[in-house]
């Protein structure tokens, strides 16, 4: 549990420290980049609006100039001749173009002569607002209106003063040519360019959503005095940039619009790349952090458990050593009296031999009692010797030991016992085991204890595998049974003296303790792993050392 919490904490801190700067940097770049880009976009669209407005202005001025020149160059009598007017109309269209018609109007507002596609001759414009304006100011450029011809158009009119008499030369500008001039400023899929008047009415046909003379829905006043860029959302919710430039002293507003998303598509692509790079970076950081932290925690956990295991082993071996000392002193205290008892009964036997059995009453009873005492002394002797682990004569010398051979010999001793319990002993012995300096009789005692324990553990029907291998500078022997396994609570006590699970009288509880001490004395070890229901694997490690020469 504590490892999981530690792991979460480490991952959290590492991620926070490494991701925070990346994200801050990423979002700063993202924000600044889009700001700069938007600024540039605004500048560009405004520039286009200005340029287009200049072009439109020039167009109108040219038309006004040629009209004025024609009026100035001709007298009323000349110009009021339709043949001449047609010549003049030709010159105007040749020199400037975009004129639909031209007409002469007298100071009473009557259309005297006309060249063009409509029947306007004889119409009176006296009541028309533009008539008064041109008469008073000398020049007039109209908004778009339908007028008598019932078609949207706009006119340029100039007044000519000829002595006491004044007359007006009036021409209509082709709204299509003018409209296409304006629309030349539109770009891309969403770009638009049009002119509105101060009431927001279209003066040229926009590309999207509207007809000439319909309401644009734009408030021209947000564009301020000269040229401005504003951002608005259209009815679909798209963000649209509008650049406006006033024309004709504030009577028309040239508007260029562009959807931000289209204009920003390059930026968005760049930003997507940036986001992708940051996302990959974040992913890499997360993966690296998680994996390295997990690895570190796993190693830490292994080291901890190894430390715990070593501590437990240390405590365990201390405990066994203390028990060993105690057992040794108990053995001494028991063996001395046993020695006396043995000699005394022996002496009694000696003395009885001198007697005539016929003459001694109860001779047989004495003999029998002595035998019984001897038997029990033998039994005690055996227990104490087993307890000390030196039931056999000690051979501290490191004789030449063939471990495989020792296993074979031990198995031979136990084969019958295994067979009657229907237990198969399988041997898988490495052929490359070196001869090592050890004690054959002691090793045999260890194997004997382990194999007979395995048989007892299985009870009936089962198998025992015996494996021998060379590992580094040790020979390892595994004795693996498929018995019921050792319950966990018993595992800790397994190597303690007098710990037995066998029924009373069958085991002394000394076998494993003695084996443990023998292996310790030989510089090796005994360990085991056991799984309930599957069996137990005892591992004996015997150091490979040079035998003492004989």
């Amino acid at each position: 549990m504590k490892y999981a919490a530690l792991q979460r904490k480490m991952i959290g801190i590492t991620l926070l420290v490494s991701l925070a700067p990346l994200l801050v940097l990423g979002s700063t770049i993202y924000y600044h980049f889009s700001e700069v880009y938007k600024q540039r976009m605004e500048e560009q669209i405004l520039y286009r609006a200005r340029a287009q407005a200049d072009a439109v202005d020039l167009f109108l001025k040219e038309r006004a100039a040629i009209l004025s020149a024609m009026a100035d160059a001709h007298s009323f009598n000349e110009i009021n001749n339709e043949t001449r007017l047609a010549q003049i109309f030709n010159i105007m269209n040749t020199r400037a173009g975009a004129f639909v018609d031209v007409g002469v109007i007298d100071n009473a507002g009557t259309h005297l002569s006309y060249v063009g596609p409509y029947e306007l001759r004889g119409l009176n414009y006296y009541q028309q607002p533009w008539f008064g304006e041109v008469m008073s100011k000398g020049f007039y450029l109209s908004d778009v209106y339908t007028g008598y011809r019932q078609m949207p158009h706009f006119i340029i009119a100039v007044r000519r003063q000829e002595g006491q008499k004044s007359w007006i030369l009036r021409a209509t500008i082709d709204p299509d040519i003018f409209g296409s001039l304006v629309r030349a400023a539109q770009i891309g899929k969403t770009g638009d360019a049009f002119i509105i008047n101060p009431e927001g009415v279209y003066q040229t046909r926009p590309r999207f959503g509207g007809e000439i003379l319909s309401q644009s829905g734009l408030n021209p006043h947000v564009f301020g005095g000269t040229a401005t860029v504003v951002e608005k959302k259209d009815e679909k919710g798209n963000r649209v940039l509008y650049a406006g430039k006033w024309l004709r002293d504030g009577r028309w507003l040239l508007v260029i619009s562009q959807e931000i998303s289209e204009e920003m598509s390059t930026l968005i692509a760049t930003q997507n790349v940036e986001i992708a790079i940051i996302a990959l970076g974040v992913l890499a950081i997360i993966l690296t952090t998680v994996f390295t932290t997990r690895g570190a925690i796993r190693r830490m956990r292994q080291a901890d458990s190894e430390m715990h295991r070593l501590n437990a082993e240390l405590v365990h071996s201390d405990k066994l050593a203390a028990l060993g000392k105690m057992a040794a002193s108990v053995a001494h205290e028991i063996n001395n009296p046993l020695a006396v008892i043995m000699q005394k009964t022996g002496w009694m036997e000696d003395l009885l031999m001198d007697e005539d059995p016929q003459k001694v009453k109860n001779f047989e009873e004495y003999e029998k009692s002595i035998r019984t005492i001897n038997e029990y002394v033998e039994r005690m002797k055996k227990v104490v010797h087993n307890m000390l682990g030196y039931a056999r004569k000690m051979e501290p010398r490191l004789e030449r030991v063939d471990v495989n051979d020792t296993i074979h010999r031990t198995v031979e001793l136990l084969e019958n016992y295994a067979r009657i319990n229907n237990i198969v002993i399988q041997k898988d012995l490495a052929s490359n085991l070196p001869i090592t300096g050890s004690s054959q009789s002691e090793l045999q005692q260890v194997f004997f204890n382990l194999i007979s324990n395995a048989i007892d553990a299985i009870g009936k029907d089962g198998h025992i595998h015996i494996l021998s291998r060379v590992e580094d500078s040790f020979i390892t022997v595994h004795i693996i049974d498929n018995g019921p396994g050792i319950p966990e609570e018993r595992q800790k006590k397994l190597f303690e003296p007098f710990f037995t699970t066998k029924e009373a009288g069958r085991g002394t509880g000394l076998g494993l303790w003695v084996s443990y001490n023998i292996m310790k004395g030989l510089g090796g070890s005994i360990t085991f792993t056991s799984e309930a229901g599957k069996g137990t694997d005892f591992t004996v490690r015997i150091p490979v050392v040079a035998p003492e020469s004989t």
């Binding site: 063996n335 001395n336 020695a339 000699q343």
Partner: protein, 151 residues
């Protein structure tokens, strides 16, 4: 050949007495003492073939110390160590100091007799070797006869 002379050294008086009695009954010239000091005292006066020596004798000299002294007084005497508890280190130490062998208590008289016989045999053959060597030596250096007799 003389009778077989054995000294039993143990701090348990009943053990010493009984063992001695049983050995004597088997025509072995056995004597018992209760401490290392007594053993050394006696060995300065009398020759023994084999000494049966308890390793652990509380109170006075222990078996190993006694063994060391015995080997100084009577180097040819074989020593069989008796031990109530077998400690490998002590036993190896004993063997290194020249003990013939050791036996675990309690030991049956039969086992002890076997061990005594082996020890005696070894001692005997050892002495014979020495004797032969002496004879060879004397044959080469007859002048030493006089010195030998003085010893």
């Amino acid at each position: 050949m003389d009778t077989f002379k054995v000294l039993v050294v143990d701090d348990e008086q009943p053990f010493v007495d009984t063992t001695v009695n049983r050995l004597v009954k088997r025509n072995i010239e056995a004597v018992g003492v209760l401490s290392g000091e007594q053993a050394l005292e006696l060995m300065k006066k009398r020759l023994f073939d084999v000494v049966v020596l308890d390793i652990k004798m509380p109170g006075g000299m222990d078996g190993i110390e006694t063994l060391r002294e015995i080997k100084k007084i009577q180097p040819l005497a074989e020593v069989i160590l008796l031990t109530g508890h077998a400690s490998v280190e002590t036993s190896i130490e004993g063997m290194r100091l020249g003990a013939f062998d050791y036996l675990m208590k309690p030991v049956s008289l039969e086992d002890l007799m076997v061990k005594l016989a082996q020890a005696f045999e070894k001692k005997d053959s050892h002495e014979q070797k020495i004797r032969k060597a002496k004879i060879k030596d004397l044959m080469r250096h007859p002048a030493r006869v006089l010195e030998q007799e003085k010893d």
